[in-house]
Symmetry: C2
Subunit: 147 residues, 2 copies
């Protein structure tokens, strides 16, 4: 995947594929114990009795994992100046062992009025479970990119 070199290279509707990421059991448990200690994320026995019928990953873990996976491709390394916010939805639970394909689509490009060296880029990221095609996460993130 070719890194972006400038905000001005992007166009609305552009799509990117970031490959797949794993959600191993030990990471599901570690993340949840530190940041999202709810029994359906941290305790196999109690998770079985929960409405989910077994362990599921913390949604914040899936968010962090998808975001970290995208960053590690180097895609935004030359342009990223951080972000101002995001929206996330979890349409289906993620199970330990799931493999998730991450893709992105440019939704909006807004050059900064006050700072000509940068612009806001709204990207919709989608995480799709490889085994059954279920969408497990949708993130709409607003990045600030250099021009």
């Amino acid at each position: 995947m070719e890194p972006i070199r400038s905000f001005d290279e992007l166009s609305v509707g552009q799509e990117f594929r970031f490959g797949t990421m794993a959600m191993p059991l030990d990471e599901v448990l570690d993340f949840a114990r530190r940041w999202d200690p709810q029994p359906f994320h941290t305790d196999e026995a109690r998770a079985r009795e929960s409405p989910y019928g077994g362990l599921i990953a913390s949604g914040i873990h899936t968010l962090a994992a998808a975001f970290g996976h995208m960053l590690r491709t180097g895609f935004v390394e030359q342009v990223s100046m951080g972000g101002t916010g995001l929206e996330v939805r979890w349409p289906a639970p993620v199970r330990p062992g799931d493999e998730i394909a991450v893709s992105g689509r440019v939704e909006e490009l807004t050059p900064s009025r006050s700072r000509p060296d940068r612009g806001a880029v709204k990207v919709r990221y989608t995480g799709t479970r490889v085994s059954d095609g279920a969408v497990v996460i949708e993130i709409t993130a607003t990045h600030i990119f250099k021009r």
Copy 2:
């Protein structure tokens, strides 16, 4: 803080204070190296040359920390069946060493039509830096709570 026992105990406009949380330097670095490896989160020297003039916490870290902090109060322990999505904004950067007060306000209550044992609760969480009163994170989360 008294734990919620049912969706039906809540009312729109109710406010809750969850005390304060710390954002120590080692956690800022650890979280970012694993989940948000961008130089303004992971590398003090490069962060000084960035637009932020020094290290700032990953926004996803601040989100995870605020959420984990709220969970550890036990507030939602008896009712939480997970969440369906959230929106987050980071109006100001978080610096290592910041102490952040976390509060919540009930914004919307929607009993489930199909499942009489639960309802959706939209809560707006706010993180405010204690030293200067700056709002550093705003999260609007949709929880599913038992009735």
